[in-house]
């Protein structure tokens, strides 16, 4: 009796082990389904709580499969989560076509975690109509391409039109220099009642991200290439100018409020509640202010980044799993082009947003500002015909987008931003902080982060 039991237990243990081993190995499914279709997994499917976006996405997948009978798309929820990215890749669970923020590709390419699609996009329509700077974000030093951009949110200045009016400023002529921003912030915070003139981030790497925008707007940069390596490039007049403006607004003018260590959600809450005059933001912030923080579309204006010498390109796109077969790469690119980079679908796509009561008219979803030339004009016409938010409020931003040079993020962005966070924190929380010392300290930290690029 006993031996029967021990045998059974041993069998169970072996079975358990075997299951575990098999479970570890089933990450990458075969190229083809039983009926000979190419199967690709993709992420970027909105969660079910975002009812409208989810419906649009699922409808698109169904239509794509109908019009491309040889491709089977398996959508997954979720976007870019750096915490699980490597684990998914190691475990064979990473989607064939995966979503990235503009901050991600540089590191992903350096770590060889994306497929080279340079040759594969040669036959893909409309790739040459995409703004080259956005494509550059997905290239390595040799010009090889590893992904495609699907949205662009370059940094601009988001401001409250009602507060501008109350402070005696002209909402149709937003500030174009940092000197004007400072003066406007002073006037707005002088309104009293807890109103803050200008707010900026200084936490969770967002401070470093915004300091980078400051540097670009003044015609500076964060890092410069020095032969094979990168060196910090902000311990100079431009860096001092940026921090000096911030210090003057925070401590001399008292127009940035007393609570600091803010991050995006804190500042958006202030703006949504009508308590904030201006902050640096991309167009995708406007719907967030309305949907999550109780704002109104009519209340927000969007201008180019003050200073006008440059802006930080932000956005999103998709890259392809490095383990994907050529057939999967081809199918994945076909899907990406059809769904996200498709001028033939401009009209029908935007119409569904307008019919669904979603905002149309912003340089954001469903009309992301990623095109150039004739296709850009075509999209502008579609946007104008369906616009249901005051598109003229964003005219200053769009005007600057065509003239101002957009630059991508510094390499090793997250680590660089972490080092720059402390720069913003020091200026905004310590009145006696010495800007020269701060810049020198941050320079050595950033140089160290840049030295880790291999």
């Amino acid at each position: 009796m006993k031996t029967v039991w021990t045998r059974r237990i041993a069998a169970l243990a072996v079975a358990g082990l075997a299951t575990a081993t098999v479970a570890c190995g089933t990450g990458s499914s075969g190229d083809q389904t039983a009926d000979g279709k190419i199967r690709i997994t993709v992420n970027g499917q909105p969660p079910q709580t975002q009812e409208f976006e989810r419906r649009i996405f699922d409808e698109d997948i169904a239509e794509f499969e109908r019009t491309h009978p040889d491709i089977d798309v398996e959508p997954h929820e979720g976007f870019m989560d750096p915490k699980v990215f490597s684990a998914k890749l190691a475990g064979g669970q990473l989607e064939d076509v995966y979503y990235v923020y503009f901050t991600d590709p540089a590191q992903i390419i350096a770590r060889r975690q994306a497929a080279d699609i340079t040759d594969a996009v040669k036959d893909l329509p409309h790739v040459t109509d995409i703004q080259p700077a956005l494509l550059d974000n997905f290239r390595d030093a040799n010009g090889k391409l590893y992904g495609l951009p699907t949205a662009n949110y370059s940094m601009g200045l988001l401001y409250s039109r009602p507060l501008f009016q109350r402070a005696g400023l002209d909402p149709d002529h937003p500030p174009t220099t940092w000197e004007e921003v400072r003066a406007a912030a002073k006037k707005i915070s002088d309104l009293g009642g807890g109103v803050v003139g200008y707010a900026d981030y200084s936490k969770n790497n967002q401070g470093g991200w915004h300091f980078t925008s400051w540097m670009y707007s003044l015609g500076g940069q964060i890092a410069r290439r020095d032969g094979e390596t990168w060196k910090a490039d902000f311990n100079n007049d431009k860096g001092r100018a940026a921090l000096t403006y911030l210090r003057q607004m925070r401590w001399d003018d008292n127009s940035m409020g007393s609570k600091q260590l803010l991050e995006a959600a804190d500042v958006q809450r202030m703006m949504g509640a009508g308590q904030l005059g201006m902050y640096l933001a991309a167009p995708d912030n406007v719907p967030v202010l309305v949907k999550q923080f109780g704002g109104n579309y009519a209340d927000y204006g969007l201008a180019g980044l003050p200073g006008g010498k440059g802006t930080l390109l932000g956005g999103e796109g998709y890259m392809i799993n490095p383990k994907a077969s050529p057939a999967k790469i081809k199918a994945g690119l076909t899907y990406l082009q059809w769904k996200y980079l498709n001028p033939d679908r401009f009209d029908s796509f935007v119409k569904r947003f307008a019919d669904g009561g979603q905002p149309v008219g912003l340089p954001a979803q469903p009309t992301p500002d990623i095109w150039q030339g004739a296709v850009r004009e075509q999209q502008e016409r579609v946007k104008a015909s369906y616009a249901n938010v005051p598109a003229q409020n964003y005219a200053p931003y769009l005007a600057s987008a065509t003239t101002v040079k957009g630059s991508i993020e510094p390499p090793n962005a997250q680590q660089v931003y972490a080092a720059l966070d402390s720069l913003m924190q020091a200026v905004l929380t310590d009145q006696g902080a010495d800007i020269t010392t701060l810049l020198t300290e941050a320079e050595s930290k950033v140089n160290n982060a840049l030295a880790q690029i291999r």
Partner: protein, 335 residues
């Protein structure tokens, strides 16, 4: 030459008889001896087989635990050890980089900052988290009424999930509408910047962690205090010892062992502080709350550099190991 009988006896006891240390003649010396040994071997094997079958169920059950430990505990530990000498991208084969990860760690200016901050946290946490619960336990032990009630009150914070505790205290500390500055303002005192100032942020985190964790330590002290025989105090009292002398000469020596064990456990736990800085400050302001584990987390899950993260955890492991070893030696030598 031993007879077969004596051979059987030998097999039975399993012990060779020795005669005052004199060498015993070899039992396998002749043909008769060889036969005896063969049968002895068979019998031994039969006994072994019986013992194994009897214990197989136990081994089977143990097996499951071993597999689970090996898969989820030992394998990751060994893998982590290897990773700290490798560079990995999870696509291509890992490359061995020798001590490169460690060199890069030492080059990171935040590395020293993180260790300094962690030691500061540990020192403050011990100062507060070691003394306060002991004092509270002594007080509770002296209580005649409502002891159960106070025990529950002290223990309640332990039952809150750590993230909830951190978020709750984040509101307490808010320099604008927060609880602390509100209370201070109400009695006419100036408010503090709490988490927003690099000089007070770490202390603020220690307060949270002490509040959240002191319940368990207090209960353990209380249990230790209640094992002290009452006649020791009576004797001390008869000898004319006051409250403080009774505490110093009776309570502390009697609870010494528990105190030392908890000290070790607290050092090991507080050196690994993560939740509070991660949820409440993100390491700021000005890197004043970047701890070893927070930096390790950034290496692994923000920068996706698992080699450096593993190297960092190896160093932490070694540091804690050295500390524990010193501690064990110390307690042994004082016994």
């Amino acid at each position: 030459m031993p007879s077969p009988r004596s051979g059987e006896l030998l097999a039975h006891t399993g012990v060779r008889p020795t005669t005052g240390g004199a060498p015993v003649p070899d039992p396998a010396g002749g043909p008769a001896g060889a036969a005896a040994v063969d049968s002895a071997r068979l019998r031994r094997r039969a006994r072994l087989r019986r013992r194994i079958t009897e214990n197989l169920t136990a081994y089977g059950l143990l097996c499951a635990a071993l597999v689970v430990f090996a898969l989820f505990s030992w394998y990751p530990i060994v893998r982590g050890l290897l990773l700290s000498f490798q560079q990995v991208d999870f696509v291509n084969a890992a490359t061995w980089v020798g001590l490169d990860n460690f060199v890069r760690l030492f080059d990171d200016p935040l590395f020293g900052v993180a260790w300094r901050n962690t030691l500061l946290f540990t020192a403050l946490a011990l100062l507060l988290g070691f003394a306060v619960p002991f004092a509270v336990a002594v007080l509770l032990n002296e209580l005649r009424h409502a002891r159960a009630y106070f025990r529950l009150v002290i223990y309640l914070p332990v039952m809150l999930p750590p993230v909830v505790t951190a978020l709750l205290w984040k509101w307490f500390y808010d320099p604008g509408p927060g609880l602390f500055n509100g209370v201070l303002g109400a009695v006419g005192l100036p408010g503090g910047q709490w988490l927003d100032s690099s000089s007070t942020a770490m202390l603020s985190l220690v307060l949270v962690s002490t509040w959240a964790n002191m319940g368990s330590t207090t209960l353990i002290y209380l249990a230790a205090l209640q094992t002290i025989p009452g006649d020791l105090y009576e004797a001390a009292e008869l000898d004319g010892a006051g409250v403080w002398r009774r505490l110093w000469h009776v309570t502390v020596p009697q609870t010494r062992f528990v105190l030392l064990v908890l000290l070790l456990l607290q050092v090991v736990a507080t050196m690994q502080v993560f939740t509070e800085p991660y949820v409440m400050t993100g390491g700021g302001p000005d890197d004043s709350t970047v701890t070893v584990l927070l930096l390790l987390y950034r290496y692994a899950f923000v920068y996706n550099d698992f080699g450096m993260a593993s190297a960092m955890s190896l160093l932490l492991f070694v540091a804690l190991g050295v500390f524990s070893a010193c501690y064990v030696r110390l307690t042994k030598s004082t016994d």
